[in-house]
Structures are given as C-alpha cells and as structure tokens.
C-alpha cells in the first residue's frame, strides 16, 4: 500500500516538475500544444521511472532497477529529436539561432527529463521513509513537500549565466564614416544605399557589450554566442527587415582591442531599454564559455602586457 501511494505521489510530483519547466520562455519554444504533449508524455515516463526505482530495489527486483539505465538512452533520443527539429527549421528563421544555441536548447530538454526523474526519485525516498513512522497521508504530503523542495532547488541550480552577468551592456551612438556604418569606433559594415543609411540613422539602435574580464571577453568572441544574442534580440523586439534586405540583418562586430561587441539593429519597436534588457538576458551558451584565467598562461597574459 505504501509503495503504491509513494509511486503515485512521486510520479505526480515529477510530472508537475516537468510541467513547471515547460513554460514558454525567452527561447519562444515550444509554443504549440503538440510540442507540449510530446514533452509532457516523456516527462511522465521519466517521473514514473524515478518513482518505481526505490520500490523496485526494496522488492529486490534488480532487473527493474537496471531498466533505469535503459531509459537514459531514450532521453538522449529527446536531445537528438530536438536538435533535428530545430536544425531543420533553421533555414526558415529570419535570424537563425545558430548551431551552438540549438545544441544548448536540446541539452536543456534532455536534462529536464532527468530533473523530473530525480525529483520523483527524491519524492519516493522521502515518502517511503516517512511511511515507516507516520500514517500514509502524512507520508504522502511529506514526500510531495520534499519533491517540491527538490524541484525548486534543482531549478535554481540549472539557472545559467546571462550576458548581463559577464558584460556591461549599454546604448551607443550609431553614425556613418563615409559608407561605413559605425557604433562608436567599431566598424560594422559598408552600406551603399543612401536610403538604407537614412533608415539606420533614423530607426537604428547601437549597442555596446563590454566584457568585464578576459574570461568573458573570450566567451563573447564565440560566434555561436553572438548569433544567439542576435536571434534572441530580434525575436523579442522584432526587426524591420525582410528576405532580400541583407543590409538590415543585425550584426555583431568585435572591437579588436577591447573585445567589446558592437551591434546595430533596426528593431520593429524602437525601445532602447527593452533592447538592452533583451541583450542582458540572453543566456551564456555552455559551448561558448571559455576560461583562460583558469590556466597559468591565461593569467600571465592578463597581468602583463608588453
């Protein structure tokens, strides 16, 4: 009886955890019911597996426990599917996400299933332990509480850094030097058409992203990271461009000495504060993170410049 209650509670809590992680967020994905259903059903399976693990061990049913390992393969499949879906949609994005960002998203979706499974595992352990001493109702409530605590904790752990944490993001003046579009002293590109120059001056917003240390300088230099910033910003603010107008494709160029990134975008909504916020909230991609300061050579290079 206690086992059954524990399995049900743990599955439910794990499922709620997966549901909680399924908010449509800055990635704007998934955003349709079918997508939700797919992830929720796999999340349900994951939480069920987490829930039966301990009862299976207690019943000395070791074969059942080894099935857990098998499940991990299934979740890796989730990552593959996410990657394939997003990659195949990539040519249809006005501003592509870039492979690095897709890889990051796919990894998050895989990890969320493990988190759901982990949450229900903890729930069932707490629930079964409490059931030995207290009545079943208390055990169920206690288990659920433990599960929610785990969920909260795991979610806090999973929050990665944002661009705003590793760089100062500020608005900067857009101007032209002959045909060259510039943001302060960084050249962005050569714009030939007078009409296009006019539009840049009128509706364009310039942004400078200044890294705070050599680590973030190296991270921001990553092309995948830059593409992610461009995608997020343009999907959140919209851009004034259509297919066949490459002038207005937002670009991030790097200041060759300071490593600061300069961007010009002609957004659909001209709102500098919103733009800066969108840049600051772009996640730092796992695959872009570099830590030269962790190595001796990197620290030496930082402390002495000849």
């Amino acid at each position: 009886m206690a086992e059954l209650a524990s399995i049900l509670t743990a599955t439910a809590v794990g499922f709620i955890a997966r549901l909680y992680m399924l908010r449509t967020d800055y990635r704007q994905y998934p955003s349709y019911p079918q997508g939700y259903v797919i992830h929720l059903s796999i999340g349900l399976i994951a939480s069920f597996l987490g829930a039966v693990a301990v009862p299976a061990l207690l019943a000395e049913n070791y074969e059942a426990a080894t099935f857990l390992a098998l499940a991990a393969t299934q979740f890796r499949e989730v990552r593959k599917i996410e990657r394939e879906t997003l990659s195949s949609l990539e040519p249809l994005e006005l501003i592509p996400r870039g492979n690095a960002y897709i890889e990051g998203i796919a990894r998050v979706f895989e990890a969320r299933n493990y988190l759901a499974g982990g949450t229900s595992l903890i729930t069932s352990i707490v629930c079964l332990n409490l059931a030995r001493l207290w009545p079943l109702e208390t055990a169920v409530v206690g288990g659920a509480a433990g599960g929610f605590l785990t969920m909260w904790f795991l979610n806090r752990m999973m929050v990665g850094k944002k661009v705003g944490d590793i760089a100062r993001v500020r608005a900067a003046a857009v101007h032209f030097d002959g045909p060259y579009l510039m943001v302060e002293d960084v050249i962005i590109m050569n714009v030939g058409l007078k009409e296009a120059r006019q539009r840049f001056l009128q509706d364009g917003i310039g942004v400078l992203i200044e890294p705070v240390d050599p680590d973030s300088k190296a991270t921001l230099a990553n092309l995948g990271q830059r593409q992610a910033i461009l995608h997020d910003v343009s999907s959140l603010l919209g851009i004034q461009m259509d297919v066949g107008e490459p002038e207005f494709m937002p670009l991030l160029r790097r200041h060759r000495e300071t490593g600061a990134l300069a961007m010009v975008i002609v957004p659909a909504e001209k709102n500098t504060e919103a733009l800066l916020e969108a840049v600051r909230r772009t996640p730092v991609l796992e695959s872009a993170v570099r830590r030269p300061l962790a190595a001796k050579a990197g620290r030496l290079a930082d402390s002495h410049r000849e």
């Binding site: 045909p179 058409l193 009409e195 490459p246």
Partner: protein, 52 residues
C-alpha cells in the same frame, strides 16, 4: 557593379554604367532587391552588389 565612370570599372562581373548619382542609387536598389544582394560603396563612384 554599378559605375558612373567607365575608366574605373571593368572585369568579370556584369557592369551597369549610369549617367548620374541618382540613377546609380536607383539602379543599385533595384538590382540589389532582385538579386537579394547587398550594396557596398567603394567610394570611388562604384557600387558593388554582393550576395553574402
């Protein structure tokens, strides 16, 4: 390529000679839209249209 002066542009890419800066601007815009290319100004009176 779109040029005003016949002495500065020559070579493999199609070249359009125009008579005035306005004409150059207009032609550059049309051709860039049709080819989905981007107009760059070489500052010597020549525009080139490049597909990136």
């Amino acid at each position: 390529m779109i040029a005003e002066d016949k002495t500065v542009a020559g070579g493999g890419a199609p070249i359009f000679y125009v008579s005035s800066p306005e004409e150059k601007e207009r032609l550059a815009r049309y051709i860039s839209r049709i080819t989905q290319g981007m107009v760059h100004d070489l500052t010597n009176g020549v525009y080139i249209i490049v597909r990136h």
